[in-house]
């Protein structure tokens, strides 16, 4: 079975930092490709994304839903089947992706988005205030 490619597209150095952190935590390398928007025009960013995604099934993780990275992902991949764009990238999301790359793209995208939501928790102290 073809494994799903993971691409992280984010502002500045964020994608590289996230990918490095995931690799250090999980001990798995070469599963995620970081893409930065630094020094890019919208056109060059879209080309970087397409190059990173390649031909097979892929999930593109990006940071802000309203950001230029997310827009470039959605525009570049609008007519490309077998690719999902997931915004709000986080470590829990990427770690879960890493160990489920044999799933179908759509199901996997829903799964990792749910994992990220579940991982967002407000911890309060004993008095009910934020600790």
């Amino acid at each position: 079975m073809t494994r799903v490619t993971g691409v992280v597209v984010a502002h500045g150095d964020l994608a590289r930092a996230l990918v490095r952190a995931v690799e250090r935590i999980a001990g798995v390398g070469d599963a995620l490709v970081p893409v930065s928007n630094t020094s890019c025009t919208p056109e060059t960013l879209e080309q970087r994304i397409l190059d990173a995604v390649g031909e097979g099934p892929a999930i593109v993780f990006t940071d802000m839903a309203s950001g230029s990275c997310a827009f470039a992902c959605r525009r570049a991949l609008f007519r490309r089947g077998g690719v999902a764009v997931v915004t709000g990238v986080s470590l829990p999301m990427l770690l879960d992706f890493l160990f489920h790359r044999d799933m179908q793209v759509e199901a996997l995208a829903d799964r990792v988005a749910g994992k990220a939501r579940d991982a967002t928790v407000v911890h309060r102290g004993a008095d009910g205030r934020a600790s």
């Binding site: 502002h11 025009t41 060059t44 839903a65 827009f71 525009r75």
Partner: protein
Amino acid sequence: MGLELIRVDDRLLHGQVVVGWGQRLDLRWYLVADDELAESEWEQQLYRDALPPGTEAEFVGVEAASDRVPRLSERPEAGALLTRGTGAMRRLAEAGVLEDRRVDVGCVGAGSGRKQLLAYVHLSPDEAEDLRRIRSLGAEVVARDVPSARPVSLDVLLERLNDD
């Protein structure tokens, strides 16, 4: 209220605009002057999908935008006028609707024939000429990416363009 921001930005509706400026100025509407986008419904939808609730975006050709600008100041809520490049902004200036306004140059990325003048501004000589023309038609032209940044005058940009 009304037209609070006029900006050249090759990314149009992105984080710096929608979050940075949008939060600071409480922008509720965006008018994008772009001949290509005005004809592309699916791209318009991509932009609209990413807008915060309570905000709206309209995409019109440059000529239609120039007809609209004089009335934008009458709108009760704050908004912004955006173009992707200097050429479209120059056309608006030449239509006579930017006099006594300030035009911000935001993100203009690296590209063929362009020189990096600031971290976020890259211009070709032709684009610099567009900005000179906009200023000659009565608009102040500065570079500024986010509201907290100090505006950089067009003269500084032109000096850097001409430096070897």
